[in-house]
Subunit: 477 residues, 4 copies
């Protein structure tokens, strides 16, 4: 419609109805293809209507437009919202973007007054507002996902607060730990992830509306009113910054990249643990897939995909950093490249966190297999060294040397530390007595690490109790 | 169909027909969402059919399957190809990926013999083959795009072989150059881009078919025959490498990233040149857009988007490098993340090169404005220094010092070098004589740089002649 | 010393004194080269001593070691601190890293008691503590740098609160703005940068000491005491997370990447503004460099380098994200790759912010040139459209169309909007009257944007006043 | 010297001797810090002398400078080369970069004629030449490293051509393979890496000398002569491209990134294989390190570091892509950021390949452990399916279903496929007969995959024979 009437008015067939008055020709096809953003920015439709409604109410209240015009526009926006909800909204790719589509549809629905909505506004402050709203909405949704993930971790950690497994450093057996403790490490990561998203949310929560194209507006608008209506903390303080800032997108992508790296680490562990060499856990059928050729396979596809998706999200972050690098103020079209990486990363992370939550909740643990591995490989050697320090008052470094020799002996004899004869140990360090056997079993080792943050079942249960309280709170500080 | 019958056979409702026999339950929704690749790998449909056809013919010829079965499968594949072409192919997201979709459709069309197609093949070698074919096809298409871009550059370079403009270093006026010479620099970049893509094509051109899941196959297949039928140079030499190698995707993305950086440089220049401060060029309406608020605007959106898209392509490269980092052999599901960045980067580059080609072809140059800028700012100071070297046999370093003092003088007098009185120059260097004025004009400067690769109109025309010959050749060496 | 005695004890010549008891041979040269971190982690020396001191005091107070041993160790650490300060500390690359160097030196200085320092500690929690301290120290230093930068921006913004220049979108003239307003946009960016660093500081401020190798420790340590002594908010809550978490490094790099992108944008502007086509500013000699061949050149090398360094910092972020992706818990040697990117990025950013602060402080502005540019190019077209809305009550969209036609007319006549005859405008829109000329000059346009965040001199001064108050506060909330 | 005299001449104390004539002040400290490149570009010293020598000879031969001057300069360069070699060259950071240092030293050694060397040359073409020479030299060195790595792979592959191990997909046991075959997959990757470097070398092998600052030169130089003397294929064809092109650096970093990803994959495998759960291999003491706290540890630090270094190299690539994005022609100072990532990546890769070569050469394989793993986990299920196809002429898809059911049965009975009774299998598929047992052992499975690229010992030995021939050739095509 608008498209056609503009064609009739000015004869510049094909040029854009919204800005085409001075143009003799419209863009060629290749240009239209690269320029149109409707196929992705239509995801901002709800936010666009929300922001337009706030802007319109303010225009009416301040008398910049008549209250009749304001009412009519609001009614039109209601209709549009309904059309968007029921899928009947007639998107038109020729109209470049979602903002033009909404405005053109408004004109079709309510006539000329539609043209008053863009008073004291530009697409530059409009899109900055819409996009911030979208990111804010999605931070809230992803925070819910992270909370659910934390919930699943806590539940399994509680079940396995005293399940003993080998703790690894360098992927070599290091010291025995509890599986609950291991899982609670991921709780901490998710806690920081949520905290980063909360900070990002707080920092982005300034309203660009009123910045206009870049310089502000001569109309006597009420920026506090629109900010308030859209639940922004305050209006953005500098109009040029407001329209050219994409920190919120970059920070959101940074936070998701770090969070995705966390998931990739857990995913790697699940892949390993579910494989035949570890065989610590079994994934449920819900999270396993088979092979088109090898009938025996149970593949941890979900975990592998979560591991890989970190790359995708990091790629989105890198991409947008490159886009923004070296861009002069204020708005440049380059910034249209801000949305797809953000949309993709948010959606990717959402599905990763859902899959990971499901996998953790469903995980079946082979406690016997874990315990067996924890008792092999001299994992209590540090306990032996610590015993030497405590009981014989040796400097740690000396105790470490002695323990090294004892381990070497056990290796040669192909037995565990607890299986060495006392006399053999005494040949290496005469002060050793039978009490040493009280620290050489994996469960003793674990139980002894009972301080704050340690792996002892009690310490893990204490950490779970704190975590439950945190989760019960509405949100992180 | 296959889906249903498997359900009937085994009661494991919901599990995958192709590999689900051992599974009691199918994947949950979140898992299915992250696991399915059909929404993007359907772009491999044509390649999948092509590769299946080659595989099937070979199975028939070697007697691994009967020639009747082979014929029936080929007929089915023909039907599928038609359905794909006319849009009637019934894609089913439950069947995970394009390979399963094609095989299931084949079964629906020709019955049980469809199940013989996957003999001596796995999805692992199948997808590696399909994807290589896709990249190869797209290299050919992008090479066409780059050739067209080179053609546009040459045409404008010829028109402007003697159009004088300031050459910049550090974005400061440096020495006069010709616009044709400047454009031919981009010809060179595109030449290397094409050469990189050609090398990538040559290197990827090995056929994975026959690698099976990872170990090869016990069937007496003829790998040379399938490689040949699909125009691969040779069969891949190691089955584990063949199914786990994604170098071709990484190298393709690297080549596109570098090429995109080239376009971003030209795009930056077009943005600057078309702005009011430079005003060297005017973009046609076809490549300009307007503003929703500022009616005077003519925005170089196309150039800005091309500049930005480099970020997107670099992001894709980074993302896939992250995905592949640290993956053990052979195939892991992580590799499913290889396709979207490649598809996106290829499509992005394709539209960038089309827009850039159009912009270059359409560019209107303001020769007067360029010439004016080339004659301002002491751009022939180097010519003066060189004259001092040649005429007075001064060491260059000394000549550079003297010229610096003369430039300082002209700055103070707020005049050009050519406008200084001879006597004034002689106060700084007594040996200077009137011949010096023969090198102080921009056109003289340009004309003097006539050696191979220089900016003189003749040298530019010589470069164009070579370029035309290269373009006429079918492809780069 | 330790090195030698271990050699004597066990005959394993060349193996490491600290852990070599079980090893028959030491590492080969290539391995030693890749493994040693001393050449970079010696930068943690001060933090290592600080953390060791806190650990030692706690060991003494809790009676885990005797108070005599504790005192002796503390004396030794004092000596080491002095040696580090005066450059006499004997670094030994064979001892792998800074931690081993300090401990070995301690043994040389005070004898066997040195071996007691490592009681209830591992290099894993030690390095995590040292590195957090280093990042925390550097956040504080960089915050000072950012404050100085903000100070320089405010000072120039005040000087130029009413200096009129063209505001750009798409690098095309958009609307007139004040230079002070433009600069204050960067104040806002730096405000967010500081706020991001403050959040990062708060989040990292948990003390890993006591996490041991990964599982905690059986010794009755007082984690609150060491956390307190090192001014950490609290002890880290999960030992496995404490030693394997590098979020703080990633978040620090993310914050610096975003901040570096901000600087790159201003740097790009300075490069353009100081070039002959814009000629808006002149860099002082202090921030300009010359050419080895072109004597007239004044190159904005500082700005170009700041622009480029964003790439370097982004590369460091990307690199560390790749390193951390998919790493199983707890510590892996891969994490040794965390320090160099962080050190490099911090140092790079420090020098960028110093150079940028100096350039801004020194910047000479050509007000006449800026004003001239602001009055060319129909930059008040939006003001005309807004006038049509306000005075004739036209819908904005219609006003935009009319203005487009008037701009086209002025373009054809090659004159400014203010130079069109009233009658000519009235041919396009009869309602226009002479009052329209009150909005067509750049200074009128700027003055009219007086609302919060607008570009009017008064609004800029109000923003400066708020900024000064913020800067006076000790730190951001 | 030059420094001082320039100070005396012009009173601009502190300004640069080479270009400072017009400057009243020199740069401030922060600026000098960011601007100086000497601390890293001194690594180009050898290349700088080499290129200067070629340039000087050409200047003499063409008569652009006298043959006396030419001889004197060459003598000076010889002295400088010696000083560089014996460490007596007096580097001076004030002189910005290596080029200025060499020229200033030349002046000190031979006097005013030194100033003639820079005739018909600029630092822009000079550094482009030096840097290309450096990259070319390093490609040659890295190719040697890759060849040695291939040699180590081949040697181990030969030893283990019939060592059976489980082949993995999704890190789950898939099909038995030979360890030799697995290693030869890395031979293929290294083959492509070498081929990529060779292509990069060929493409960069154009000589920038003569491009001058950006426009060429008015002197009658002989570009073919310098190109020839420096063993470049030909002179670069476009002067603006020649000085602003950094494709060779980007392509080099891309090739190294891909190669580093390969090494990271093998490194991940070595980390896993050497851990207690796999225990497939044992690293020699030369490539293992111990723990400061856990005396039993043998950590695969070398492998972990190689895995991590991929991140570092990818970061360098990303960083330089960001630097180059959007840079207008010709040279900008940003490009000074090209060297450090390239130097760092080359050095990093060099040490990675050396460590990996050593680790592979030293690797001790536990054949029994590998064989045991290969015979567990139903890895011959595909062989069973293939037997059903071949012997009973079942469609593969149906055979796959039947095999799935047999595997499920074996899982329930907790036995291997070969341990099922024939009667039990016949309950599932009556056609099965005793011949089926001929394919159910891992060694039978491996032996049957004897085609080109398959895992059978014979096929592996054939691949080794081809590889040996390739290695014997001087270089890849």
């Amino acid at each position: 419609m608008a498209e056609k009437s503009s064609g009739q008015d000015s004869g510049n067939a094909g040029s854009n109805a919204m800005w085409g008055a001075r143009f003799d020709r419209g863009p060629v096809e290749a240009m239209e293809g690269i320029n149109s953003s409707l196929h992705f920015d239509r995801r901002l439709a709800a936010q666009d209507v929300r922001a337009s409604r706030a802007h319109c109410r303010m225009l009416g209240k301040t008398g910049i437009i008549s209250s009749e015009a304001s009412s009519r526009i609001l009614e039109g926006l209601d209709l549009i919202e309904k059309e968007l909800a029921d899928g009947s909204f007639p998107f038109d790719a020729k109209l470049e973007d979602i903002h033009m589509n909404v405005e053109a549809r408004l004109a079709a629905l309510i006539g000329e007054d539609a043209g008053r909505l863009h008073t004291a506004r530009s697409r530059n402050d409009q899109v900055a507002t819409d996009f911030r709203l979208w990111v804010r909405d999605n931070i809230d949704a992803l925070d819910d996902g992270l909370k659910a993930f934390q919930g699943a971790l806590i539940a399994q950690a509680e079940t396995h607060a005293d399940t003993i497994m080998p703790g690894f450093t360098h992927m070599q057996g290091a010291q025995p730990v509890t599986f609950g403790h291991h899982l609670m490490a991921y709780y901490e990561m998710a806690r920081r992830d949520r905290s980063r998203l909360a900070d990002c949310r707080e920092r982005l929560n300034e309203c660009p509306l009123g910045a206009g194209a870049l310089a502000g507006t001569p109309f006597p608008i009420d920026r506090a009113a629109t900010a308030d209506a859209l639940e922004f903390r305050e209006p953005a303080r500098n109009s040029m910054d407001a329209v050219s800032d994409r920190d919120f997108a970059l920070e959101f992508l940074s936070a998701l990249s770090i969070a995705a790296v966390h998931l990739s680490r857990l995913a790697e562990e699940i892949v390993l643990w579910s494989g035949p060499q570890f065989a610590f856990v079994r994934l449920s059928d819900s999270f396993s897939t088979g092979s088109s050729i090898m009938p025996q396979k149970r593949n941890p596809d979900g975990a592998e995909l979560v591991r890989a998706k970190a790359g995708r999200i990091i790629g989105s972050l890198t991409g947008l950093l490159v886009v923004m690098k070296g861009l002069p103020l204020a708005y440049s079209k380059d910034m249209q490249e801000d949305k797809e990486p953000v949309f993709d990363a948010a959606g990717t992370f959402e599905s990763c966190i859902a899959v990971m939550t499901g996998m953790i909740a469903d995980l079946e643990v082979d406690k016997a297999r874990m315990a067996e591995a924890a008792n092999a490989g001299f994992l209590t050697a540090t306990d032996l060294a610590d015993w030497l320090v405590r009981s014989l008052e040796l400097p740690f470094r000396k105790a470490h040397h002695i323990t090294g020799s004892i381990v070497k002996l056990a290796e040669e004899k192909n037995c565990g530390l607890a299986e060495l004869a006392l006399a053999e140990m005494q040949k290496i360090e005469p002060g050793i007595n039978a009490d040493v056997f009280s620290v050489l079993a994996a469960d003793k080792s674990v139980a002894s690490r009972s301080g704050l943050g340690g792996t002892a079942p009690g310490a893990v249960r204490a950490a779970i109790a704190i975590a439950r309280k945190e989760l019960a709170r509405k949100e992180l500080e």
